[in-house]
Amino acid sequence: MSDAAILNLVLWLPVAGMALVWALPESRPDKVRWATFWVMVLQFVLTVWLYLRFDAEQPGLQFATRLPWIPDWGVSYLIGLDGFNVLLVLLTAFLGPLVVAGSFSAITREVKLFHAMVFLIQFAMLGTFVAQDLFLFYLFWELMLVPMFLIIGIWGGERRIYATLKFVLYTAFGSILMLAAMIYLVWTLKTTTGVNSFAFADLYGVRLPVDAQTWLFAAFALSFAIKVPVVPLHTWLPDAHVEAPTAGSAILAGVLLKMGTYGFMKLGFPLFPEAAKLATPVVMSLAVISIVYGACLALVQTDIKKIIAYSSISHLGYVMLGLASLDLIGIQGAVIQMVSHGLTAAGLFMMIGMIYERCHTRDLAAYGGLAKILPLYSVFFMLLTLGAIGLPTTSGFTGEFLSLMGAFRAAWAAWEAGVSWPLWLVGLAVTGVVLGALYMLWFAQRFLFGKLKAPHLPIVDLTAREVAILGAIVIAMFALGLFPDEPMKKTELAARQYQQLVETGGSAFASVR
């Protein structure tokens, strides 16, 4: 089988999985769970194969499939891997089986529907990443709302209806403006160059006047910024995270939030380079505000899930900063940071889910000294915490350090050219690292150490299944921290292309096909 066919298989496997799950009886939930798990594992194995086969030296799309789909509009089924998405696809496929395994004991009602929805969201997320056609991208982007709406709304906490409606209505508003911008963009492409196409590679070639670019960039950026989320558009996130079941939180934090930053990287900045450059001060300021404000909010939370939720806002601020810096190191750091945050945040959310299953409260004040009775749990929790605050040798360090370094290099260059504000912003962003260490360590201290306190005792330590899940995440986290070279090489060409696209405004990019 050719590699392109394998990529298609990876993408469509969840759909087959949905059919499989639907055919199983509701009365045998374990069968449903294991079937889902093994399909997800198969998907991951295939993705690893693709990752290994991915040639870092070759620019542009690999394993591409292109089929005409709506020829009248120039829409095609165009998917493929490139340096932008290869790591994110790997991350998505990696978290898939873990999320399923993490829900074995948590999800006890509507088991079939739950697993069908996990498959559907997996399909939508992978589709969003591999789509190389704007129409297809939008299709998957919006499709994601449906399973998430149900996952939060059916298996969520007490205020789940409020949270899920807020999530959908927020995201859908951004999408509708993106849709308008998208139609305008494609129509402009058709009228100015005669090319009737939605393919990213063709759209990079559209030359728009700056004022039109500004409008379109605003529409795209709004949609992506809501998804990231960038302060002040973040208010849906704590609600959605807190009310979602563990699997929902892990998917949200692990992959969904990365769609926003991926959107900026793949579409927002490269499609509208002039407007993006004009907007850089705004984007950078908002990124830094997200870093600092998210950290401050995380500091004062008493709900353990909210701490991690707000820390996500802070961590994705680094990604935005790295992307906006247009520095090669910064861009690669941003990609690593995306993956790293996907690992640690998903891991931490699952750990919170595990303790919640045992104690049924998320109030931090109810806990203390857990290290005394839950040694295994505490070890994993500390490891993930250290990963989240970016201790050297963990992936968090690589991601944060490189993003900040890139931003600093760009800011220094600006300083030498006589512009001083970027340097101040980067300086402020560095304080976010300190704040990050502060809130996470303080959280761990109150949670794991001190006087033993728990809603009820005894609590059993991690089961073998849970250790396996967390072990996989921790290994991945250290692997990415210790050997960042290989994944970074796979993103390097894409990072260069991105940089070039934004700086030169598209002309150099005929080769991105």
Binding site: Y138, V146, I154, F173
Partner: protein, 461 residues
């Protein structure tokens, strides 16, 4: 006019007429209701096939020159309208046991076919009335509640007002142009004379009323709620489809100039916003669908802003996607209890636990109506807004899209009720409905095609 072309070109209409005659014979012979339904179903299916055959053959003749002509376009429009009537017939079995429903439905369909093939204001009027009159009776035919009579009367009076307005407009147009040909309307659009402008406004208002566009929509919620499920389904899909397709025919090749655009866009825009907002507060499912259909009428008329060449495609595709999804929702509604109890949205609470398949089907329909990709509703909406934007009306398109955003909430609320709420109070036992299930399956086929091969279907219009 020659006999051959009359026989051949009006084949779909003849099939309906034959069906009508057969129905009367069956009724006279004292046949059972089931026979009548079967006869009607066969007749409509035959008419659909005839329309498809004529479309496939690419026939374009005018059996009554200047009044009635067919072209591939009219035939595919008829095929869509007639095909949508098939599930409606299957749905009717639960509400109507005798032959009255199929009889009235067939004559109304005859009017709809006439309407989309008309070339002059005379045939247009004939078609419009032939289509509407049976529906007034159909609304009353349910008469399971006191309000049905009120709703029927309201619909009758407002429908009469629309007819009068239409006739007034047509006669003004005749007075200024001296012709009854539909082409006079397209010319009048560009004319500065106040008389023709008044005529254009009146004719448009009449169609707005028939299609329930704000502020001429007030009859729709009452009529939809008061009528029974199959009649509501018929009004929401087929009547609306035929009316808007007739307007597309009326506009012909006329382009909507920027001066005119404000006029054409304003009411549909308000309609989109108002329908979507007012639907939020409804407690009756059919009333909610009525407001949703008011919003959708807005999108349909919005399509007129597009370039003349793409209008028919946009409207016909939209009508197909919208009609199929609406019928899908109606076909899966829970039964049990009396009509008023069944119609409450609360009745849908916890439906997924009781009947998962029905809940998923209704959920799909709601998502499609809300325009969530990759469902047909999204592709249809995309087509409309793409055409509007391509014609240079960028800001109208943006406003329309923002208006469509307002609709997401109330569609999601239905899904929330079905999947996330505990069982509604007083849910009674539900009898199995084999024919309605058949209607569901019948609708799922085009839905699957529209999702998987939208490009292929678009090419057919």
């Amino acid at each position: 006019m020659n006999a051959m072309s009359v026989i051949l070109a009006m084949l779909p209409e003849h099939a309906l007429l034959a069906g009508l005659c057969a129905l009367i014979l069956v009724e006279v012979a004292g046949g059972r209701g089931r026979t009548g339904l079967a006869v009607a179903f066969v007749a409509v299916a035959a008419a659909t096939c005839a329309a498809l055959a004529l479309w496939f053959g690419g026939y374009a003749v005018a059996p009554f020159r200047g009044h009635f002509s067919i072209s591939p376009q009219t035939e595919i429009a008829k095929a869509v309208i007639l095909a949508l009537a098939l599930p409606v017939l299957l749905l009717s079995r639960d509400e109507f046991r005798d032959a009255r429903f199929p009889l009235l439905l067939l004559s109304s369909l005859y009017g709809a076919c006439l309407l989309v093939s008309s070339d002059s204001f005379l045939t247009l009027f004939l078609g419009l009335e032939l289509m509407s009159l049976p529906v007034y009776v159909l609304v009353l035919l349910a008469l399971q509640r006191v309000e049905s009579a009120e709703a029927g009367l309201k619909y009758l009076i407002l429908g009469g007002a629309a007819t009068a307005t239409f006739l007034m407009g047509a006669s003004l147009l005749f007075g200024s142009s001296g012709t009854l040909s539909l082409a006079a309307f397209a010319d009048a659009l560009a004319s500065p004379s106040p008389m023709t402008q008044a005529a254009v406004a009146m004719i448009l208002c009449a169609f707005f009323l028939k299609a329930a566009v704000f502020p001429f929509h007030t009859w729709a919620p009452d009529a939809y709620e008061g009528a029974s499920v199959p009649v509501t389904a018929y009004m929401a899909t087929i009547i609306k489809a035929a009316v808007v397709l007739a307007v597309v025919r009326l506009f012909g090749k006329a382009e909507v100039t920027p001066q005119l655009a404000g006029l054409v866009a304003l009411l549909p825009l308000v309609s989109i916003a108002w329908g979507n907002v007012a639907a939020i507060r409804q407690t009756s499912f059919r009333r909610m669908i009525a407001y949703s259909s008011i919003a959708h009428a807005g999108y349909l008329f919005f399509a007129l802003l597009g370039a003349a060449g793409g209008r028919f495609q946009a409207v016909a595709f939209y009508v197909l996607a919208y009609g199929v999804m609406n019928l899908l929702a109606f076909s899966a509604l829970p039964t049990g209890g009396d009509d008023a109890a069944r119609d409450r949205i609360d009745n849908l609470k916890g439906l997924f636990r009781r009947r998962p398949f029905a809940a998923i089907v209704i959920g799909l329909a709601m998502l499609s109506l809300a325009g969530i990709p990759p469902l047909p509703g999204f592709v249809a909406k995309f087509l409309v807004f793409r055409n509007v934007m391509a014609a240079g009306h960028t800001w109208y398109a943006v406003l329309g899209l923002v208006g469509s955003y307002l609709g997401i909430y109330f569609y999601l609320r239905i899904i929330q009720y079905m999947f996330m709420s505990p069982d509604g109070a007083g849910v009674e036992d539900e009898r199995p409905r084999r024919l309605a299930f058949g209607a569901t399956l019948l609708c799922l086929v085009p839905v699957a095609l529209l999702v998987l091969f939208p490009g292929w279907i678009l090419g057919k219009f």
